[in-house]
């Protein structure tokens, strides 16, 4: 039976949340990818670099989650659950690499929701965008993700 997706979420902005990037988290993330670049892993290389410290890999921003939010709540609000979702697309625009010890503010919002029928049946596409700013309110990165819901 097909499920109904709540298109009323289009345009919804979620409360901004702060995340402090932990040094160990950057290293753990790089190691999980099997990426041994010393700019992600070696504190001395980081300290001697143009950034003065370690930097995060380009896709690291996905780890900036709102610890206080219930991840299932968004899916419930959308009208679905975790067994029906797939990651369709992802995009990062990076103005400056994320760095350890810094606190960033993330502002997520739902940009669009649309439906299409593909090879494997009807699907909804949920487009979310998050702006990431630093403690001087300067934009550091944006990320945009498309979640596919199998209807």
């Amino acid at each position: 039976m097909a499920i109904q997706i709540n298109r009323g979420l289009i345009g919804k902005e979620y409360p901004p949340y702060p995340v402090t990037v932990e040094r160990g988290k950057i290293k753990e993330f790089a190691r999980a990818l099997g990426d041994d670049n010393p700019h992600y892993l070696d504190d001395r290389v980081g300290a001697a670099s143009e950034w003065g410290d370690l930097i995060a890999p380009p896709t690291f921003a996905v780890t900036l989650r709102d610890e206080t939010a219930d991840t299932t709540a968004f899916l419930k609000e959308l009208g679905t659950d975790i067994s029906r979702i797939l990651h369709g697309e992802q995009e990062f625009e990076i103005f400056r690499p994320l760095q350890p010890g810094r606190t960033y503010l993330c502002r997520p919002r739902v940009v669009d929701i649309y439906e299409k029928t593909g090879r494997s049946g009807p699907m909804a596409f949920v487009v979310r965008q998050t702006a990431i700013t630093d403690d001087t309110n300067e934009i550091v990165a944006t990320m945009r993700g498309v979640t596919i819901v199998r209807l």
Binding site: E28, A32, N37, E93, P97
Partner: protein, 144 residues
């Protein structure tokens, strides 16, 4: 040489990135990626759950493959050079798959203070099926 400095002046449209081969994908890597990224969707961990969800078994996080593509770009262009990375997840990556990430220079542009190189990037499995397709932009230093 790995992590050799790449200069904007030396890059030509049509240049190809050295391929980056990752895998064969093992469950432990998906578990580590879940922990590192905070994405604990059981569809990447629990075969029974993934089958019941109609996915035919466990598959890798799309973001793991995107991370591989990001590494292919930074292995070539250097850490901290990526200005944009955008991909579409074209097919599922399964356990035991070998993922090869590739890229090609499609454009160069020079503006005040930045020399940008646009890349077409993709990843394919051992059957040469594309699992990720996308674009990247890197900022490279100029010579001299």
């Amino acid at each position: 040489m790995k992590y050799a400095r790449v200069y904007f002046d030396d890059v030509k449209v049509g240049d190809e990135l050295p391929p980056l081969v990752k895998g064969p994908i093992k469950q432990i890597q998906l578990t580590r990626y879940a922990g590192a990224s905070g994405d604990f969707n059981p569809i990447h961990q629990d075969d029974e759950f993934a089958r019941a969800a109609g996915m035919g078994g466990v598959f890798a996080h799309g973001m793991l493959s995107m991370g591989f593509v990001g590494q292919a770009v930074t292995d070539w262009a250097g850490a901290g050079t990526v200005r944009k990375l955008g991909v579409r997840f074209a097919a599922l990556v399964r356990l035991k798959d070998v993922v090869t990430c590739r890229g090609r220079v499609v454009a160069k542009s020079s503006t005040a203070g930045a020399q940008l190189v646009d890349l077409e990037v993709w990843a394919e499995n051992q059957r040469a099926e594309k699992v990720v397709t996308g674009r990247a932009t890197v900022a490279l230093p100029a010579r001299g």
